[in-house]
């Protein structure tokens, strides 16, 4: 059930990118899509009753096996860390493009931009 809601959230973001005419709404749609994909990855790595993947003090011997038996998956968390920082860079670039478009055409509306030339 949580996976289903994540997919629905992704579709909401896709709807914003595909139908909205305001550039900032399109950027908001992209942000929603990226965040829902990250959330799906982390939900895939969750272990019921698990703990955070930070080892406890005596991390060798059988405390190590206890840690390995009870921690959540660290691999999706590492990938999502990468993905969140990438989404920051992509958002900054998209907003830079929107600002230049606003400076040139005076509006954020994409149908106006298509009509004006030169």
């Amino acid at each position: 059930m949580p996976y289903t809601l994540c997919v629905i959230l992704f579709m909401v973001g896709l709807y914003a990118v595909a139908t909205k005419r305001n550039l900032i709404k399109i950027v908001i749609g992209f942000i929603i899509m990226e965040n829902s994909a990250n959330l799906l990855l982390i939900m895939l790595g969750y272990r019921a009753g698990g703990r955070a993947p930070v080892a406890f003090r005596d991390g060798v011997g059988d405390a190590a096996t206890a840690f390995a038996q009870s921690a959540v998956d660290p691999l999706p968390q590492a990938l999502v860390l990468t993905s969140i920082v990438i989404s920051l860079g992509v958002t900054a670039l998209m907003v830079a493009i929107c600002l230049r478009v606003y400076q040139r055409y005076g509006t954020f509306d994409i149908s106006e931009i298509r009509r004006l030339r030169g």
Binding site: A55, G59, L88, Q103
Partner: protein
């Protein structure tokens, strides 16, 4: 040059009210310190180079928003921010390549499992062991390089964004 367009530029770069400026003057050092803690202890507690670098940048962003662009740029000029950005990225790459030469594979952790005897003696002399600050080989060094890179990159983006707004204000007059 008439003085009238000077007024909006002064307002634009003047920042916010006196309450915000006073609070910022006290709080920005704590934000910077917290960011440094997240970066330095990234191999022991949650955090690491990326989130710590963004927190460090937030201190500079707060300064830019509260005091205006000019004072923030006096602390960290644009040219220096660009150079530090490249230095951070190059440091990360140099650590990886040194791993190739010492450890045999690209990105080998050449301090934690030292292949060379000299490094082994150095580590034993310093007293490197897990769960302490000085542990985990090249991981803290990588964290520092990445934090430097992320902090200065985002600061550059903000400074240029603020400059664009100043120019926009001038064109609208």
């Amino acid at each position: 040059m008439n003085n009238q367009p000077q007024q909006p530029v002064q307002e634009m770069t003047a920042g916010m009210s006196i309450v915000v400026q006073t609070v910022t003057r006290w709080v920005k050092s704590f934000i910077f310190l917290f960011g440094l803690y997240i970066v330095c202890f990234g191999h022991l507690t949650p955090g690491g180079g990326f989130s710590g670098g963004v927190i460090l940048c937030c201190a500079f962003i707060l300064m830019m928003l509260a005091f205006g662009r000019e004072r923030a740029l006096r602390r960290l000029p644009l040219g220096r921010a660009g150079v530090l950005d490249s230095v951070g990225a190059l440091a990360f790459l140099v650590i990886a390549v040194v791993g190739l030469f010492i450890g045999g594979v690209f990105f080998a952790n050449w301090l934690a499992v030292p292949a060379a005897a000299a490094l082994q003696r150095l580590c034993a002399a310093i007293g490197v062991e897990p769960f302490h600050l000085l542990s985990a080989g090249t991981i803290p060094l990588c964290n520092l390089a990445i934090a430097l890179k992320v902090c200065t990159s985002l600061f550059l983006v903000f400074a240029v964004l603020a400059m664009l707004r100043v120019e926009q204000q001038e064109q609208e007059e």
